[in-house]
Each structure stands twice: as C-alpha cells, then as structure tokens.
C-alpha cells in the first residue's frame, strides 16, 4: 500500500538534496522546504497508510473501523510547524546575506 508513496518520498528527497547543493540562494531555500516536506511524508508513510477513515471518534463514542494512525499525523504537524519556523528564519537570513555586497552565490560565503 505504501509502495507508490515510498517512491514519492524518495523523489522528494532526491530533489531536495539536489537543491541543497545548489549555488543559488533561492534554490537552496526551496531545497530546505522540499526536504522538510519529504521528511513529513516519510513519517507518514513509515506510520503506514490507512486510506479508509480519518482518526475521529464517531457519534457513538467509538472509533471508526480501520482509521488512520493519528500518532504520525500529530508528529508531522509538530514537525511541520517547527520546520516552518526554521524555514522562515532561514529565508530571512539568506535574504540578509544576499544584501551583503559582493555576495550573490553560496560560493561567495567563504571566510
């Protein structure tokens, strides 16, 4: 069941890593975002996919049959939000660095 999504996670990781190694700031940050998404999806797949029901308790007070595992979802939520904080901060830092004279690619950051 997780076959396709596993491949998708791999793709996302590959793309993210490729971008992380880029000389361009914008691509670098996009790489960070994609890696963040990829790890989220990784946890999701590692926690097994259940496609029938969302983890909500029904009106009768019982959980539905075959519902998705809420734990990875909660973890991903937390990780995503944390990731967002870090991405936003990184974005601004990178922009600030870009404002430094004579810096327009990552290679200029020597020293």
């Amino acid at each position: 069941m997780e076959f396709l999504l596993s491949i998708l996670v791999g793709l996302l990781f590959a793309a993210g890593v490729y971008l992380l190694l880029h000389r361009d700031f914008v691509k670098l940050v996009i790489g960070i975002v994609i890696i963040g998404n990829a790890t989220a999806l990784f946890i999701f797949v590692a926690g097994r996919i259940v496609r029938q029901n969302a983890p909500f308790i029904q009106e009768n007070g019982l959980p539905p049959e075959n519902f998705a595992d809420p734990v990875p979802q909660a973890l991903i939520l937390t990780a995503l939000v944390i990731g967002f904080g870090i991405q936003a901060f990184a974005l601004i830092v990178f922009k600030k660095v870009y404002d430094i004279p004579k810096v327009d690619k990552i290679d200029d950051l020597k020293k």
């Binding site: 992380l20 670098l28 960070i32 890696i35 963040g36 990829a38 790890t39 990784f42 946890i43 590692a46 926690g47 097994r48 734990v71 990875p72 973890l75 937390t78 990780a79 944390i82 904080g85 870090i86 901060f89 990184a90 830092v93 990178f94 600030k96 660095v97 430094i100 950051l109 020293k111």
Partner: protein
C-alpha cells in the same frame, strides 16, 4: 505525585516563565537584566538544592506530562546523568548570564537577547530530561532556533554568513534525525525511549535497528561536532558576542554528546561492535583533527573553537569504549570541559575588552599588567590541557585507564598525542598573548591595569573567578564528582533500571 515531580518540571518552567516575563518587559533595560538574573539563579537553586539531592536519594525520577501513563504520554526522566548535566548547565547559564550583563549591549537586549537565552536554557534542560525521542527532537529544535537567533543577533556580516552555514548544516541534521524518529516509530510503534529500548530488547534481530542507530548517530554527531561533520562549529563560533560563544561552547555540542550517550547506552546496544566502532573511529579522528585545527589558528577564539571539537572526541571515546569506567570518564570530561571551556571563552572576552582583539598577533604582554587575571587563565588552560591534579587530568586518566582495560592502544596513543598538542596550543596562547613585550595601549582602551579591571568590570570577572575556582575544586577534590559520575555511568550501563523506572516493574 509529590513535590519532587514539580521540581523536575521547574527546570523547564522557570526559564520559560522568565522568557515570557521578559518578553512583556522587553523595553525596560533594568527590569530585563534583573528578570533574567533572577530566573537563572532560581534555576540554579532548583537544580542544585532540590533536584540533585532528590536524584541522589531516589536514583531515577520520572514524571508523566499530562498524567498519561508511560508509553502513551510524554515521559520526563531525571537520572543521575541528567541531574549532573542539569546542575552544570544551570551553573554555566547563571555565570554567562552575569557576564552578559556587561558584555551584551542594550540594543541586543532590547531585541530580546535574554528571551532567546532563557529559551535556550529551557531547551537544553528539556533535552537533558526528555524520555521520548520525538520530544528530544523538539527540544533540539527549540535549542537550534534559539541558537540561530543568538548567533545572528546584531546582523554583522560575519555573523550572517556563519548563521547561514550553521543553519543549513543543522537543518540537514534535524531532517535526518526526524527520518530516524519516523523510522523508530515505523519499526516499534512507540516513541518512548524506554519502550523503544524494551522493543529492541525483545526483538534483537530487527534488521533495521542498526540502520536506525546510524540514522540517530549521524545527526547527533553533527550537533556534537564529530569528525568529519564539525564544519559548522569552527566557522561560526568566532563571530557572535563572546557570551553567546561561551554558552554555545558550554552547552550546544554537549547536548549532542548527551543525546549520543543516552541513545547509545539505552536504545542501540545490541550491535555494539558495529555502532560503537564507528563512534570510536570518529572519536579518534575528531580528537586529532580538532587539535590540529587549533594548531593552525592564531586567533584565541578560533583556537578554542577547534579545541571544542577535539575534546568532544574524548567524550565520545568514553562512550565508544563502553565500560562503566569509560562512561564515567566521559561524564567527568563533559563536566570539566564545560566549566573550563566556557570560562576560557569568557576570559577571551576580557582579553578582547582589554586589547580590542583576540588575535594573538595583536595581543601580547598581558602578564605584565594583569598578573592575577593571567594566572586564572593559566590555571584554567592547564586544567583543560589535563595537567595533574587539575580537572582535565582526571578525565584523561580515566579514559586512558579504561582504554587499557579494553586494550585500545591506538586510541590511548591518540589521547596522549591530543593531550600534548592541547597543552601546546594552550601554551601558544600563553606565550603569545600573556608573555612578550608589553604593548603601548591606544587611547581607546580604558583598562590599563588590573585594579581598574577588577573594579569597573566586576560583572565580567565574577563569573570567571567563580568558574575557575570550581574548576580548581573538581580537580583538587575529584572524589565527589567522580562518585556521582560513577553512579551515573552505572545507571547508564544498566538500562533495565531506567526502563523499569519509566514503564514500571509490571511491564
């Protein structure tokens, strides 16, 4: 549920409340200073006067956040190792806090310096207490984001560049740590460290366990600055204000080491031959590479930064040797390293204050005018270099003894060479900065003699003196620390005790 559980949680609540309160008063200079100092002092009192005796009495204390029982809620665990780390972290925190009163300018305080500082302390404490791998990850992230901000606060060009490097490499570490956490959940269906450890005890043949171990090891290794993943450290530690470097040097990498020790004595202990060999090789290279890096530098800050790397190697070596004695040695090493290294950075800050630079080419002859200050440096530097009977010696000695018991002769050789080269570069600082011709001071420098240094800049010197005396104390009277380090190591090497304390004997 007695008051002892409250005590454990206070180590998180106090810094957090301090941060929140100073957020409310962030415009008020004086109030801001006092709030932070009070918070740090309260934290220190909590850890030393209440938490530590409790742990001595009760061995391992746990509390369940939200009141949900063990593997389901988040567990907070304090064993001897955590308790020692908490005590030392809060002590260093208070010292740096006092130092920062003068060292950090008003503008940075207005931009919530102390808020970040307190959040950092909270995250560090949280990481020391986490009994849940995802929770550990969360504390790591809180620590990282606070350290990013502390590093960049002031927007200097060098700071910005350093922050970019630090941010990106830390991000990679966090991402793969998260992958590791996901993997652990995917394998064991649990996040509680004790529960995961129990799972691996019951399923020792789980093929992915070693992979998960490596996936945990690498991010922690990045954070602990192990070879060859320590790039971020020497490239960033020389850029921010010295208080920031000092608290980083004391706590950041050590949290990485703590996490390594915790995970690789509790969870990943079924393939020791493989995992701990990797750790040992890494430790050896880290020691050498770091110390050679230090040799190549002429700036005090950079020299000291590289020494952090090299000394992290010692600590990890203790873990890699994997005997109670070796781990006790590692713990001893961590403590003495935190005390000495933080202090050396603080001293460097004073040198910068006096001479305007920490580059050895621009500093000389300090011993002539500042003899007492110089002697303090010498004592701390020699402690770090491990001269008997100073604190570093004991740590080194224990590791050598443990190494002989494990017959890791190559490692002992590396330890010895590193020790000698550490002395070499400590003396390089001494010979160049403290000895030599006394320079004529340019007008802008106000501090020309020791009297004015001690009188007018007491808030810089009090932490230095206190920490130096503490360093001296644990060197001359190594028994108490040795005793607790041994207890901690025995607890660590006996994970069942931890598992039982968390999950209860029924499980």
């Amino acid at each position: 549920m007695g008051y002892e559980k409250i005590i454990i949680l206070l180590t998180l609540i106090i810094p957090m409340l301090t941060a929140i309160i100073s957020l409310f008063f962030k415009k008020n200079r004086i109030v801001n200073n006092y709030i932070s100092i009070i918070g740090s002092s309260l934290l220190l009192i909590t850890t030393t006067a209440f938490l530590f005796p409790l742990i001595v009495e009760n061995e391992i204390l746990t509390t369940q956040v939200g009141g949900w029982k063990a593997p389901f809620g988040i567990t907070i665990v304090a064993d001897m190792f955590s308790a020692i780390m908490l005590v030392i972290a809060s002590f260093v925190g208070l010292m740096v806090n006092i130092y920062a009163l003068e060292n950090i300018d008003y503008k940075k305080k207005e931009f919530s310096f102390f808020v970040f500082f307190q959040f950092l302390m909270m995250a560090v404490n949280g990481a020391f207490l986490a009994g849940d791998i995802f929770n550990l990850y969360v504390w790591f992230e809180v620590m990282l984001i606070s350290s990013f901000v502390l590093l960049v606060l002031g927007n200097g060009t060098k700071q910005l560049i350093a922050t970019v490097k630090y941010t990106l490499l830390s991000f990679i570490a966090s991402a793969f740590l998260l992958v590791g956490v996901g993997m652990i959940y995917g394998i064991s269906g649990s996040l509680n460290m004790a529960d995961v450890a129990l799972y691996f005890r019951e399923h020792p043949n789980e093929p992915l366990m070693t992979v998960a171990a490596v996936l945990f090891m690498l991010p922690f290794a990045i954070k602990a600055a192990l070879f060859p993943l320590y790039f971020w450290l020497p490239d960033s530690y020389h850029t921010p204000k010295i208080s920031v470097t000092a608290i980083f040097s004391g706590l950041l990498t050590k949290v990485g080491v703590y996490a390594l020790i915790r995970c690789f004595t509790l969870i990943f202990i079924h393939d020791v031959h493989y995992t701990h060999t990797i750790l040992m090789v890494a430790a050896g290279f880290t020691m050498l590479s770091g110390v050679f890096g230090a040799l190549s530098k002429v700036n005090m800050r950079r020299i000291l930064s590289f020494h952090i790397v090299s000394q992290v190697g010692y600590m990890v070596l203790g873990l890699a040797l994997f005997t109670p004695l070796a781990i006790a040695g590692a713990i001893f090493y961590i403590i003495q390293h935190i005390l000495a290294k933080t202090n050396l950075f603080l001293i460097t800050g004073v040198v910068e204050k006096i001479k305007g630079t920490s580059n050895l080419k621009g500093v000389s002859g300090l011993y002539h005018r500042f003899p007492v200050f110089s002697i303090i440096f010498l004592v701390v530097a020699l402690s770090l270099a491990g001269l008997p009977p100073l604190s570093g010696f004991w740590a080194k000695f224990i590791l050598i003894k443990a190494g002989f018991e494990q017959q890791e002769y190559l490692m002992i050789f590396v330890v010895l060479i590193t020790g000698l080269l550490t002395l070499f570069s400590m003396m390089k600082i001494w010979v160049n900065a403290f000895w030599g011709k006394q320079q004529e001071e340019p007008d802008r420098n106000l501090i020309t003699n020791e009297k004015s240094l001690f009188k007018e800049h007491w808030s810089l010197l009090i932490p230095i003196i206190l920490m130096a005396s503490f360093t001296l104390f644990i060197g001359l009277f190594s028994m108490p620390l040795m005793k607790y380090a041994t207890i901690a190591a025995e607890q660590l090497m006996n994970p069942l005790q931890y598992i039982e304390a968390v999950l209860g004997t029924a499980n």
